[in-house]
Symmetry: C2
Subunit: 601 residues, 2 copies
C-alpha cells in the first residue's frame, strides 16, 4: 500500500517536472506555440499580474500562445519549479509552483490531466527590490545606538499625520474605509506606498456598528482573516457586528494606516497623470492630489429604490434597507419588507424579534442556503478548523479557490449544491410549502456563483427562514404596483397595511455609486463593476472571463476598484497593491488586453 | 546515514516508551519508590499545577517519592505517553509527553540520560469540563435562529460593564493593568472566570506611553507575544513604547477585558473567604468584593531612593528613574545619573541625545550584554525567525525553557555568556578602558540568571554603552556621600556639578509595594517576591527552587502575585488562571508544600 502511494507520488512528480521543464524550455526559447501545445484543448491559464499586469484568464492553446507572444520578452520568465511534492487524485495532478520574472517573483498552482495542463494559475508574489519587510525582514523598530537626530516612532507617526494630505500628497487615495479600504491600506503600507484612506463615517468599523443590532458576519472566521493579522484562536465563528467593528478599528491603528474618518469625498477630477480630489474632512474642505485613485465603496453600490407610484403619499416610515435604523421603534407595528434576499431576511427577522408584525414581499425567486450547510459542504475543505488542522493555510485556500477557472466554476459547484439540496430537503420543502419561491441559481450552481455574477439574489440562512417557513413572518408574492397612504398594493390586488416599508431592493453597480465623485462620464467610461458576463440575470454577456473592473486596470488610467467579501478583499488587495507599487516605482507595467467595457451599469 | 538517523530515532522511541511504561505502572500501583527509582541521582521534576497545585521542583529520587506519596491518590495520573517522536542528542533523549489526571489533562517534557529521568516537566493544560472555547471549540458568536429575547454581543458587553464591580462582584480582582494583568485577564476570560482589572493610569498601555521617548522593548518580538493573539508578521523586532502601548490597548479591547483605568487601589482587607477592596475610580470610591486578589504591579516594585545626606539642600531637579519625565528640558544642563543598570543607561543615552551634559555614577558592577548578541546567542534557538521557520512554536519554546531546572540553569548559561564575552571582546575591552566595572553575574552565568535572581544589575545594550566607552557619557565610580546645593559628592572626594540628579537606584520587592494596599503585616506575611534563593547579591538563601511567590499559592490564602517579562507573563498566566478557575469551580486543589517565607523584602 505504502509503495503504491509512493509510486503515485513519484509519477506525479515526474510528470510535473517533465511538463515544467518543457514549459520553461519553450518560454526561454520564446516559442509560444510550443508552450501552447502543452495545454489541453480545454484549458485555462489565469494570470494575476505576473505576466499580464492584469487579472486575466486565457483559454486553450490559442489563448496561451497569444498571451505569451504579447508578454514573453518583457516578462522573461525563468525558474519554473515545484515548491512541494505534487499530488495526484482521480487523474488530476496538482502542483504548487514558483518562478521568477524580470520584475518579480511569482508562484501558482498547476493542474495536469493526461500530461497536459488543464489549469494554470500564476500570481505575482513580490517585486524584486521591493520585498515586504515581513518575517525575517521585519523592521527593527528602533534605531539602536545613540543619535542626536533621533526621531521616534511616535514622532514619525505624528509627523505623518500632520503632513499627509496637506504638505505631502499620498501616492494612493482610497475612497472608502470599510474592510476593503483597510485591507488595501495595510498592503500598501507594507510596500512603502504612501496611502490615505478617507471614510465618511467617523471611526473605522462604523459601517458595521451602525447596522441593526442582531447583525453578524455570515461568513465563518477562517474565511474572514485580514492580511497579516488573522483573527485569534478564541475569535467566534461569526463575528457580531460590533466585534468586527472593534477589530477593524484596532487593525487600522496597529497597522498604522492613515485614515481620515468623518471625511466625505466630494469630487475627483483627472489632472495630468494624477487626480485632484476634493474632500470634506469634518467640515474642512481639503484638496488632495493622489496619483492613483482607488474606489472601495463597498460591494453594495448605489441603493436601488424602485419608483413605485404613491411613494409620496405613504404616511408611514419608508427607507431602503441600507438606511434601516433597526427594529426598535416598530414593536407592535406593521412592517412590510419589499424583497427576499439577504437584507430582507435579516431585517424581517430583526423586526420579528422586536415584536413587529412582519410581511415579506417576494418579487422574484431567491436562493437560500443554510449557514451550517454552506460551512460544512461549501467551505470546510478550505476554510475551517478541520482544514487548518490538516495543514491548510489561508493563503493556500485562497490560491486554490483563485485557481478554479470562472468558466467552469459552476460545474464544480453544482454537485455541492445538489448535496446541500439533499441534506436540507426537509427545510426546503417547508419553505416551499409556505409559498416561498426558491432557486439554486439559474444553472443550480448555487450561492457563490450568484455572488460572483450579480452579488445578490440569495440569503445565507441564519434563522429568518424558519420564521418564513412557520408563518411568523408572513409572505406575499408578486410585484408592487403602488403605495397608498397606509398600504402596499400588489399586482394581484393584495393590500398590505403598513406602518413601515423597507425597500430591500438591492443596489446598483459601484461605478454608478462612484458617479457622484468621478462624474457620470467617467463612471460610464469605467463601466459596470462586478459580474462575469455569464448571461444570467443581472449579469449580461458577453463573457468577461474575470470580474468586471475589480482589482485591475480599468478604462480610466489611474482609477481602480477594490472590494469583495473579506476573503476576496484579503487575497486581491495584495495584487492590487503590487500594481500600484510598480507604478510608483516606475516599473514598466504593460497591460495585456485590458478588459473592454460592454455595460455602464 | 539515513539508517543511522532512523536507528537513533527508534532507540530513543523505545527507551522513552520503556521509561513511560514503567513510570505509569508505578503510578498506577501507587508505588512512589518504584517511580523514584526511575530518576537519576541528580534529577529534577518540575510540576506546574498538574500534580501539586503549585509550581514546584523536587530533586532526586527522594524528592520524587515524597511528591508522589503526597499527591498520587488525589491526582490519579494516567495515560503517560509521547506526543511526537522523541529525539536524541549527545546522550540525552528529549520527549514531549502528555497525560491525564483526575481533574485535567497535562503535557510536558522529559529528558532521559542512561535510561533514567534527568529532568521531567509536567504542566496542567486544561481542566476537564472546563476546556477553553478555542479553535474547534471557539464560540459561535451569534445565536443563529430567531429569538424574541435576543441579547446581542454588544448588549451583553454593555451590561457587563454596568454590572461588574457594582451589582455583580468579580471572582478575581487584578490590581495592575500592565501587560501582566492584561495577559492574565485574557486567560481568565477564556476560562469563564469573571475578572476585573484596575489600573491607575487612564488607558491600557499608558505605563509605556508615559516613559521617555526613545524607549523601546529590549526583548525581540518572538519572545514577546501575548496569549492567543501573537504580534503579526510585519511587527518590528523591538516595539517602540507607543506602539506596544497601542497593542496593549487594542488587545484589552478585542479580548473583551473588563478594565478600569484611572483607578487606584486604596486598600484590600481579608474578609471571610474573600476580600474587601476599596478603589478610587476616577474620583469615585467603590468597594469590590472579589474572592481572589492578584497583584500584578510590575516587576519593578517600590522605587528605592537612597537617603543621601543633603538631598533636601539640592536645588536642581531630582527624582527616581521611574519618575523621570524624559530629557527634553535638560539640553545644555548638567545631569548626574546615580546607577549603572538598565534605567541608568537608557536615561543617560536619552539625556545625551537631547544635548545634556551627562555623568553616570557607577556604584557597583554591572553586567552588560549587547542586544544583538543576546538575540543571536541567547535566544535564537527558541525565539527568532529562524526558530519559527524551523518549526518552533512559542508554546514549545516556553516549555523548553520552563523545563530547565533552576538549580542547574546557570551551568547551561555559562557557555552562552562565555561565547558572548568572546564575540564582543573588543566592545567589553573599550568599556573597561573607559573605567566601567563589568561583571557577567557572580558565577558568570549572565543576564537571565541575574534577572531571575534579582531582577536587576544588568543592561541590555541598545546604544548607551558606546557613549560610555567613548566618553560622551562621563563615568564616575564610587559611592555617593552627600548632595550639596548643586553637586553630587562621591566618597573619593569627586564633586559632580548637577542641575539634575536621577536616582536610577532600583526597586524593592513587589510585596513591599503592595503594603500600601494589603498592609504591612500581610505584605510581610506573604514575603519577598521574586528571586531564587541563590545566595548571590540581593537573592539571599536558602534555596527556594522556584521564583518566590510568583504565579502560585502564597502564605496568604486568596492572595496571588502575577508578573514577569512578556514571555514569563504569557506562559505563567495560563497556569495561574487554571488555579483560579479550579478554586472558582470548587475543584479540590490540595497544595503540595506551599513555599515557606524566609524573607520579607
Amino acid at each position: 500500500m505504502t509503495q503504491s502511494v509512493d509510486q503515485k507520488a513519484s509519477a506525479a512528480a515526474s510528470a510535473t517536472n517533465e511538463w515544467l521543464t518543457a514549459f520553461q524550455k519553450a518560454l526561454t526559447a520564446r516559442d509560444a506555440d510550443a508552450a501552447a501545445a502543452l495545454f489541453a484543448d480545454e484549458s485555462y491559464w489565469r494570470d494575476i499580474v505576473s505576466f499580464t499586469w492584469n487579472i486575466t484568464t486565457v483559454e486553450g492553446g490559442a489563448g496561451v500562445a497569444d498571451l505569451l507572444r504579447a508578454t514573453l520578452d518583457d516578462v522573461d520568465p525563468v525558474g519554473f519549479r515545484v515548491t512541494e511534492e505534487p499530488t495526484e487524485e482521480d487523474g488530476v495532478i496538482t502542483a504548487w509552483i514558483a518562478f521568477e520574472t524580470k520584475a518579480g517573483r511569482g508562484s501558482g498552482l498547476l493542474r495536469l490531466v493526461g500530461g497536459k495542463a488543464f489549469t494554470l494559475l500564476t500570481t505575482l508574489d513580490e517585486l524584486k527590490g521591493h520585498e515586504e519587510p515581513i518575517n525575517d525582514r521585519r523592521p527593527n523598530g528602533v534605531r539602536h545606538g545613540a543619535f542626536r537626530d533621533r526621531v521616534t516612532w511616535a514622532e514619525s507617526r505624528a509627523r505623518e499625520a500632520t503632513e499627509l494630505g496637506y504638505t505631502v500628497q499620498p501616492e494612493v487615495l482610497i475612497v472608502g474605509g470599510g474592510q476593503g479600504g483597510i485591507a488595501l491600506g495595510a498592503r500598501l503600507r507594507q510596500l512603502g506606498v504612501p496611502a490615505l484612506i478617507v471614510e465618511r463615517n467617523e471611526r473605522p468599523g462604523d459601517s458595521w456598528r451602525k447596522r441593526y443590532k442582531s447583525l453578524a458576519l455570515h461568513d465563518p472566521v477562517w474565511y474572514d482573516h485580514l492580511p497579516y493579522l488573522p483573527f485569534p484562536a478564541n475569535w467566534p465563528v461569526f463575528s457580531p457586528k460590533d466585534k468586527i467593528g472593534d477589530w477593524l478599528e484596532m487593525y487600522t491603528k496597529v497597522m498604522e494606516l492613515n485614515y481620515w474618518g468623518s471625511t466625505a469625498c466630494k469630487s475627483a477630477v483627472r489632472e495630468g497623470d494624477g487626480w485632484v480630489v476634493v474632500v470634506d474632512r469634518a467640515g474642512e474642505e481639503i484638496t488632495l492630489r493622489p496619483r492613483q485613485l482607488v474606489l472601495a465603496l463597498g460591494a453594495s453600490g448605489l441603493p436601488n429604490v424602485p419608483e413605485f407610484p404613491g411613494r409620496e403619499k405613504f404616511r408611514g416610515d419608508q427607507h431602503h434597507s441600507s438606511a434601516h435604523p433597526g427594529p426598535d421603534k416598530y414593536k407592535g407595528k406593521k412592517a412590510v419588507v419589499i424583497g427576499s434576499n439577504n437584507s430582507a431576511h435579516d431585517i424581517c427577522a430583526a423586526l420579528w424579534e422586536a415584536g413587529a408584525d412582519v410581511t415579506m414581499v417576494q418579487r422574484s425567486s431567491t436562493h437560500v442556503v443554510r449557514s451550517d450547510s454552506l460551512m460544512d459542504l461549501g467551505l470546510s475543505d478550505l476554510y475551517s478548523e478541520r482544514a487548518v488542522a490538516a495543514g491548510m493555510t489561508t493563503f493556500k485556500a485562497d490560491t486554490i479557490f483563485a485557481s478554479l477557472p470562472f468558466r467552469i466554476l459552476h460545474t464544480l459547484q453544482i454537485p455541492v449544491y445538489n448535496a446541500i439540496r439533499e441534506r436540507d430537503a426537509e427545510f426546503y420543502h417547508r419553505l416551499e410549502q409556505a409559498g416561498f419561491v426558491l432557486d439554486f441559481g439559474e444553472d443550480d450552481s448555487g450561492l457563490f456563483l450568484k455572488y460572483l455574477r450579480r452579488g445578490s439574489g440569495y440569503y445565507i440562512d441564519v434563522g429568518a427562514s424558519e420564521l418564513v417557513a412557520n408563518g411568523d413572518v408572513k409572505l406575499a408574492e408578486g410585484q408592487v404596483v403602488e403605495l397608498t397612504e397606509d398600504e402596499v398594493v400588489l399586482d394581484d390586488g393584495t393590500r398590505l397595511p403598513a406602518d413601515l416599508v423597507v425597500y430591500a431592493t438591492g443596489y446598483g453597480s459601484m461605478n454608478q455609486l462612484a458617479s457622484d465623485i468621478i462624474g457620470q462620464d467617467m463612471a460610464d467610461k469605467a463601466g459596470k463593476v462586478w459580474g462575469l458576463g455569464s448571461g444570467t440575470t443581472k449579469d449580461p454577456g458577453p463573457w468577461e472571463g474575470e470580474l468586471r473592473n475589480m482589482w485591475k486596470p480599468t478604462a480610466q488610467e489611474g482609477l481602480w476598484f477594490h472590494g469583495g467579501n473579506l476573503a476576496l478583499s484579503r487575497y486581491y488587495s495584495h495584487y492590487l497593491a503590487l500594481q500600484l507599487k510598480a507604478r510608483m516605482e516606475g516599473i514598466p507595467t504593460p497591460v495585456y488586453k485590458r478588459a473592454e467595457v460592454y455595460h455602464t451599469e
